[in-house]
Amino acid sequence: MIFSAPLEEKFARMLAQYPPGRQRSAVVPMLIYAQDEVGSITKELIEEVARRCGVTPLQVDEVVGYYSMLHRKPMGKYHVQVCTNISCQLVGGEELYEHAKRKLGIGHREVTRDGRFSLEEVECIGACSWAPAVEINYDFHHQVTAEKLDQLLDNLPDSDHQGAANK
C-alpha cells in the first residue's frame, strides 16, 4: 500500500522516533492516521502496518478491537460525535444526542445512506466546562444546542473529506 506523500513522511518520522527495535510502538498512531486517509481499518491496511512495524498481522488486529476510534467499516464523511457523559448529560447532552439521531435518521455508529454522516455517542471528550460538546471529525464544538447543531450540520462543506479529517 502506498499512502499520500505527507502521510508517508509522517510514517517515516514515526518509525524513527522510537528506540531501535521498538517500531511496534508506531502501530496505534499509524493505524489512526492511515484510517483517516483510507477510510477504515481494512485487512490490507492491517497487513501493511504489520509489515512496516515488523509485527504479525494478528498483533495489529488485536489492537484494532481495543481502541474505540479505530473502525473496521467506513464512517461517514463527517463523523459526528456527541458526548453524553456526566458534565454534558447535566446540561442537555442526552437530548442533543437524541436530536442528532432524529435529524440524521441514524443511530450509534451508523452511517447515512449517502455516506455523508455517521453518528457516535462518545465518552468524555474533555470539554466538560463548555458542555454539551460535539466533535465532528477532529473539530470541537462547545455549548452546542439543537439549533446550533442543525446549523453546523447544514453548513458543512461538500468536498474535501481528508481536509476535514486531517485539519
Binding site: 522516533q17 528506540p19 521498538r22 511496534r24 510502538s25 508506531a26 502501530v27 496505534v28 498512531p29 493505524l31 489512526i32 492516521y33 512495524c53 509485527v55 498483533q59 488485536e62 489492537v63 481495543y66 481502541y67 474505540s68 476510534m69 479505530l70 460525535q81 453524553t84 457523559n85 456526566i86 458534565s87 448529560q89 447535566l90 446540561v91 462518545v122 465518552e123 468524555c124 471528550i125 474533555g126 470539554a127 466538560c128 466546562s129 463548555w130 458542555a131 466533535e135 477532529y138 473539530d139 470541537f140 462547545h142 485539519k167
Partner: protein, 427 residues
C-alpha cells in the same frame, strides 16, 4: 480566545500565559520568563532539583495525587539503561478538561517542565502521549516541538547548556484505560492498553523495560515555576503537603462553568458560588463530584470543605483530576449513576474479572431501574456488587467504577425510590 472568562479570584501560576497574544509561541514564552528555570536547573545537581520539587509539595495532577518529588526520586539515575520521560496527556476522566488548555496556550511551559525532569533523572528522550481525540493538540504540540528544535531548545546542546534531549508526540486512539500509567506504557509499546502488575513500578521498569518517569501534563507544567521561584514559594500557595495551585474544571449546574486556577485548599463552596457564579435559577445544590467521575460524590452539606488531597480523603472522597461536577436539586442521581456506569462498563479493558463483570452487571441493574423495572433488593445489590469490586483489580478502574456507585447508593437512597416497582404479592 479563551474558552471561558478568567475569574479575578484565580491565582495564576501554570495558567499565567493563558490569554496572552500568541501565548503558544516560543517568542512569547521567552519574553515572559520562559527557560529561566531550565538554565537555573542546569546549574543545580539532580538531587537538588528533586529536593526542590519535594519542598514544593507538588502532587500528581492526573488524579492519584502522589508526591511528585518522591516519584522522581524512585528513578534509578545511575542505571545503564536509557531513561524515558513520558507525559500523560490522555486526559479522559469525565469532568476534566484542563490539560487541553495547558497544551493549547502554553506548550513551551510543558516542554520546559519535561526538560527539567530530564535533568533530574538523566533522561535524553521523551514522549507526550496525547489522546487521539485531541488531534488538534497533537498538531499544535508538534509545531511547538518543531519550533523548539529550530531555535535550539530541543535536540543537541539545548540552549548552549550541553544537554541533549529529543521529544516526540504519540497519538492514542480512544481508550480511557490508557490514562492509567502502566496501561499507557503497554499502549505506547503498540499493544492493547492493559494494566501491568506492580511492582516493578514504571520508575524502575517502564517504557520498553527501561526506567521511566511518567507524570500528567499539569504536573510537568508546574515544574518551571517551582524551580524558578523556589519550591517553598509554590508550597506556600497551598496547604501543608498540598502545594501550589491547580486547574479546577468546573462543570454542570453553575452560571459560569470554566477552568480556573485555584490554590490547593480553596473552599469548595466559594469555588461554586463565587468563582463559578453560583447555581442557575436560584436552585439549591444537591451533590458535587469533587475530582472526576471516579470520586465518591459529596452531598450538599458535605461541600463546606477545603479542596486539597488530604481534606477530601478525610471526607471519604478524592481531589482526583480536578474535574468538579456540580449538580443542583433537580438532578436525578440514579440517571447519573447509570451514565457513570455505562462509561466504566465501556472503558473496562476486561483484564480483571471483577471489573469486567462488575461494571457490566452494575450497568444492567441500573438500566433495569431506569427502564422502570427496579426491584427493592436491587439497591442493596448495587452496593454489594460495588463493594466486592474494590481492591480486587490490577488498576484503579474497578475502584473508580465502584466508589461513586457506592456513594450514590449510600447518600442518595431516596432517589432510588421512584424507580422501584411495588413488591408483587404472592398468593
Amino acid at each position: 480566545m479563551l474558552y471561558n472568562e478568567p475569574s479575578p479570584l484565580e491565582t495564576r501560576v501554570v495558567s499565567k500565559r493563558f490569554g496572552l497574544p500568541n501565548s503558544a509561541s516560543l517568542d512569547t514564552f521567552l519574553a515572559t520568563g520562559g527557560f529561566e528555570a531550565f538554565h537555573k536547573a542546569r546549574e543545580m545537581k539532580p538531587e537538588q532539583i528533586i529536593e526542590e520539587v519535594k519542598v514544593s509539595a507538588l502532587r500528581g495532577r492526573g488524579g492519584a495525587g502522589f508526591p511528585t518529588g518522591l516519584k522522581w526520586s524512585f528513578v534509578p539515575r545511575n542505571s545503564p539503561k536509557p531513561k524515558y520521560i513520558i507525559v500523560n496527556a490522555d486526559e479522559s476522566e469525565p469532568g476534566t478538561c484542563k490539560d487541553r488548555l495547558l497544551m493549547e496556550y502554553d506548550p513551551h511551559q510543558l516542554i520546559e517542565g519535561i526538560l527539567i525532569a530530564a535533568l533530574a533523572v538523566d533522561s535524553h528522550a521523551g514522549y507526550i502521549y496525547i489522546r487521539g481525540e485531541y488531534r488538534y493538540l497533537i498538531e499544535l504540540m508538534d509545531r511547538a516541538i518543531a519550533e523548539a528544535y529550530a531555535k535550539g531548545y530541543l535536540g543537541q546542546n539545548i540552549a548552549g547548556t550541553g544537554w541533549d534531549f529529543d521529544l516526540y508526540t504519540h497519538s492514542g486512539a480512544g481508550a480511557y484505560e490508557c490514562g492509567e500509567e502502566t496501561a499507557l506504557l503497554d499502549s505506547i509499546e503498540g499493544k492493547r492498553g492493559i494494566p501491568r502488575m506492580k511492582p516493578p513500578f514504571p520508575a524502575v521498569a517502564g517504557a520498553w523495560g527501561c526506567p521511566t518517569l511518567l507524570n500528567n501534563v499539569e504536573t510537568f507544567s508546574a515544574v518551571p515555576a517551582i524551580i524558578r521561584d523556589g519550591g517553598k514559594a509554590f508550597a506556600d500557595l497551598g496547604t501543608p503537603k498540598n502545594g501550589g495551585t491547580r486547574l479546577v474544571c468546573i462543570s454542570g449546574h453553575v452560571n459560569k462553568p470554566g477552568v480556573y486556577e485555584l490554590p490547593l485548599g480553596y473552599p469548595m463552596m466559594k469555588a461554586i458560588n463565587e468563582v463559578a457564579g453560583g447555581i442557575p435559577h436560584g436552585r439549591k445544590l444537591k451533590a458535587v463530584v469533587p475530582g472526576g467521575s471516579s470520586c465518591p460524590l459529596l452531598r450538599a452539606e458535605e461541600c463546606d470543605i477545603a479542596m486539597d488531597y488530604d481534606t477530601l480523603a478525610k471526607a471519604g472522597s478524592m481531589l482526583g483530576s480536578g474535574g468538579m461536577v456540580v449538580m443542583d436539586e433537580t438532578t436525578d442521581m440514579v440517571r447519573v449513576a447509570l451514565r457513570i456506569m455505562r462509561f466504566y462498563a465501556h472503558e473496562s479493558c476486561g483484564w480483571c474479572i471483577p471489573c469486567r463483570e462488575g461494571t457490566a452487571w452494575l450497568r444492567k441493574i441500573l438500566s433495569r431501574m431506569v427502564e422502570g423495572n427496579g426491584r427493592r433488593e436491587d439497591v442493596a445489590l448495587l452496593g454489594e456488587l460495588s463493594k466486592n469490586m474494590l481492591g480486587r483489580t490490577f488498576c484503579a478502574l474497578g475502584d473508580a467504577a465502584a466508589m461513586p456507585t457506592m456513594s450514590i447508593v449510600e447518600k442518595f437512597a431516596e432517589d432510588f425510590e421512584k424507580y422501584l416497582v411495588p413488591e408483587a404479592v404472592l398468593v
